[in-house]
């Protein structure tokens, strides 16, 4: 997905690259980026969601020449960006409810269509709770009708706004305040949870993709691709949460990178229900390296620890690697 800049050896993966022509550079490298979420928002230090949202919305803004409207679910993103009397948003934006962002997006798109404003495009966005749980019905409806909305899920794997409770996107074994690390099977139970990108694909909508805040170019390319299409589109962005994950605020991007490199979070693209591309793992690493940076998994490594749970998580990562062919060469899994 980065083929056009492979030639440049210094900083190919960096945000910018002075050696590239401006049109090939990332949106985030540009002085003219829209900064859809302005400074002064109240997200925690190192917030992955603030970052992911700016990446995605700025890219969408560039893709449609600023003609963009956003619907936002209740959640961290909404709360930290729009406490009266200040808002960080620089585009027309509406927050209605926790579970209806997709439907509000549908409404906006319908209005724009009626008014002949097809130049103005719509995104709807929310966290994993607002997307995979409470907003799932509206989201599925939006998909099924193929409404002209790009839905962006910023997945930080739990209800962070309310103080870190389990969602259907919470990973197995993770500690949250409703899946405490106590008892014989501490943390979030194995065998539960939703893989929303796959469910989205099952709707056979035009475009489904996953991305992380660790690979800006990939994320921007996917937003741009999504905005070049019409109909229902879904982009699921992994956004580490220092608070909820018990991680250093400086490690936000690193964690996202490790999530990809372990195979825990497969980064892929699908059109009409078929996977069309995957981001290959560049330097494969064991899941332990990822888990150890997060206090929500600390109980796996204490005394006596839970090596069997680490192994189970590794098995999940390995399964992803097999299933989505995340390795470039045939490497024993």
């Amino acid at each position: 997905m980065n083929a056009s800049i492979k030639f440049y050896q210094t900083g190919t993966f960096t945000v910018g690259n002075r050696l590239l022509s401006p049109e090939q550079r990332s949106v985030q490298a540009s002085l003219e980026r829209s900064n859809a979420i302005n400074s002064g928002h109240r997200a925690c230090q190192g917030c992955g969601e603030a970052l992911g949202a700016r990446y995605a919305v700025d890219a969408a803004m560039r893709a449609v020449n600023g003609q963009l409207i956003a619907a936002n679910a209740t959640g961290c993103l909404e709360v930290f960006s729009t406490p009266y009397p200040e808002t960080s948003w620089q585009l027309p934006w509406i927050h209605s409810l926790f579970g209806n962002a997709a439907a509000v997006g549908t409404g906006i798109a319908a209005a724009l269509k009626v008014k002949g404003r097809q130049d103005v495009r719509v995104i709807a966005q929310g966290g994993d709770g607002g997307t995979t749980d409470i907003g799932f019905g509206c989201l599925s409806g939006m998909f099924e009708r193929n409404d002209d909305v790009l839905y962006l899920c910023y997945d930080n794997e739990a209800y962070m706004n309310t103080g870190v409770q389990r969602s259907s996107a919470t990973p197995h074994a993770a500690r949250t305040n409703t899946t405490m690390p106590v008892g014989p099977e501490p943390g979030a139970p194995f065998g539960q949870g939703k893989k929303l990108p796959l469910i989205a694909m099952a709707h056979e909508i035009p475009y489904v993709a996953t991305a992380t805040v660790a690979d800006l170019h990939d994320l921007e390319n996917k937003v741009e691709r999504a905005m070049s299409m019409h109909g229902a589109r879904y982009l699921h962005v992994l956004v580490p949460c220092p608070l909820g994950w018990g991680a250093d605020s400086a490690d936000t991007i690193k964690l996202a990178r490790l999530a990809r490199e372990t195979g825990i979070f497969p980064v892929l693209e699908a059109e009409r229900g078929e996977v069309t591309a995957v981001s290959k793992i560049r330097r494969r690493i064991p899941v332990e390296e990822y888990l150890r940076l997060q206090k929500r998994f600390a109980h796996l490594f204490g005394k006596p620890g839970h090596p069997e749970m680490v192994a189970a998580i590794q098995a999940e990562a390995d399964r992803n690697i097999c299933r989505f062919k995340l390795l470039d060469k045939t490497e024993a899994v």
Partner: protein, 417 residues
């Protein structure tokens, strides 16, 4: 144009004349015929441009309407009963955001036990949601109120619920006058939003408001409904001027000038009441009817104005607040604060129980004779109620109430014992 059509169809055609731009449809009886009609009108191109969105729930219906309205489109939906409850969160949200959505509520009971028939429990459940609630007494009024509702909603940036009795009105075929498109266009200007999602002038709608301003926001909503108290009769008057029909407004009274006894009611039962009152008047009873068209905002002054000269007021309600009594009665009594008027609450017609002229006449005679209880459940079958109460007293495992009652009245086979 004079037509003989079903109430739902009349409403659908009236909504069509209001040139809605986004219609959200989700089926629920007894509202379904309205969106079916609108679906056909959109699909056939008779409403254009318009997006007809088949949503996956009432929650989505209101949410899509919210998005559409915020983006500057005239948005409409219809629901009833459970549907209203399912969208309740979005109902509050629409009014909180000040979005002038118009919604038809085909009034229906709320379960359990599940019941598809008419009463006003659904409306009353959303009494405090911040919407304007207008009640239609008959199908012509239902039709007219929709046209007035868009004008009112958009003027005030406030959503309006037009309530019409399920089945009794929605499924009744009556003769109505259908206005022409030109007439409606002249009455109802295009939607000019107070706030709109527009890249040319970006705003953030739906901020999080803390203790420092929340009360003010709420007060402003109230102040706006106070303005509506003035605008509703003005719009009704303007409507009357243009269309020659006196529909809508705040209240409507019949024979109240000299009445010692006044019956207060909402919706289609007003028709039955008028006939009953005519009959009682023939017997020399000084009795009248006050129909409340605008339940929210509640026209305290107008109600007091009519009722304060009476000796007694009987509020006939198709809903009640379990554990207390009448819902509308409470509001009426507030209007009569300090006035020497005796008040009665008659709960009737719940879950579609027929409200007959005979029962009404009998009940009202009791009232005049000072024999009526302050809270009366009209035509309540005490026999089966008492039997169930006995069962419950006798056994902890007394079984499901609704099924027991049905068995008592012989609607289902008795359990083999």
């Amino acid at each position: 144009m004079r037509k003989q059509i079903e109430g739902s169809r009349a409403v659908a055609e009236a909504v069509a004349l209001a040139r809605p731009e986004v219609i959200c449809a989700y089926p629920i009886s007894p509202q379904t015929h309205i969106v079916e009609g609108l679906g056909e009108l959109v699909k056939s191109g008779k409403i254009a441009p318009c997006e007809f969105v088949n949503v996956e729930s009432e929650f989505a219906a209101m949410s899509v309407a919210i998005g559409a309205s915020a983006a500057g489109a005239r948005a409409y939906t219809a629901t009833a009963s459970q549907g209203l409850l399912f969208m309740a969160e979005a109902v509050y949200n629409a009014s909180g955001l000040g979005l002038p959505i118009v919604m038809t509520l085909a009034n229906r009971a709320i379960g359990a036990p599940i019941n598809i028939w008419n009463d006003h429990s659904d409306s009353m459940s959303q009494r405090d949601c911040g919407w304007i609630q207008l009640f239609a007494a008959h199908n012509q009024e239902a039709l007219d109120l929709h046209i007035q509702a868009f004008k009112l909603a958009e003027e005030l940036s406030m959503p309006v619920m037009v309530c019409m009795d399920g089945f009794i009105l929605t499924h009744a075929v009556e003769g109505i006058d259908m206005p022409t498109q030109d007439e409606v266009d002249a009455f109802l200007p295009p939607y000019e939003p107070r706030q709109v999602l527009d890249p040319a002038e970006p705003v953030s709608i739906g901020a999080m408001v803390g203790p420092e301003a929340f009360m003010e926001v709420r007060y402003l909503a109230h102040a706006k409904q106070t303005v509506a108290l003035e605008r509703i009769p003005e719009i009704a008057a303007e409507f009357c001027d243009r269309f020659g029909r006196n529909t809508g407004g705040l209240v409507r009274s019949y024979h109240c000038d000299d009445a010692e006894t006044i019956v207060v009611a909402l919706g289609s039962v007003i028709g039955t009441l008028r006939e009953t009152v005519e009959e009682l008047r023939r017997d020399g009873m000084k009795i009248g009817v006050l129909g409340i068209s605008s339940f929210r905002p509640f026209p305290l002054a107008a109600v007091r104005e009519v009722l304060q000269g009476a000796k007694r007021v009987v509020v006939l309600e198709k809903s009640f607040s379990v554990g207390l009594g009448g819902v509308v009665s409470t509001d009426v009594r507030l209007a009569l604060e300090g006035a020497p008027v005796r008040g009665y609450t008659v709960v009737a017609g719940l879950g579609g129980r027929a409200i007959t002229r005979a029962s009404l006449a009998s009940t009202l005679r009791d009232a005049v004779d000072e024999k009526l209880e302050p809270l009366t459940f009209m035509d309540l079958d005490w026999r089966i109620v008492n039997r169930q109460l006995e069962r419950e007293a006798a056994s902890r495992r007394s079984g499901p109430i609704a099924e027991n009652l049905l068995r008592d009245v012989g609607s289902v086979a008795s359990k083999v014992s």
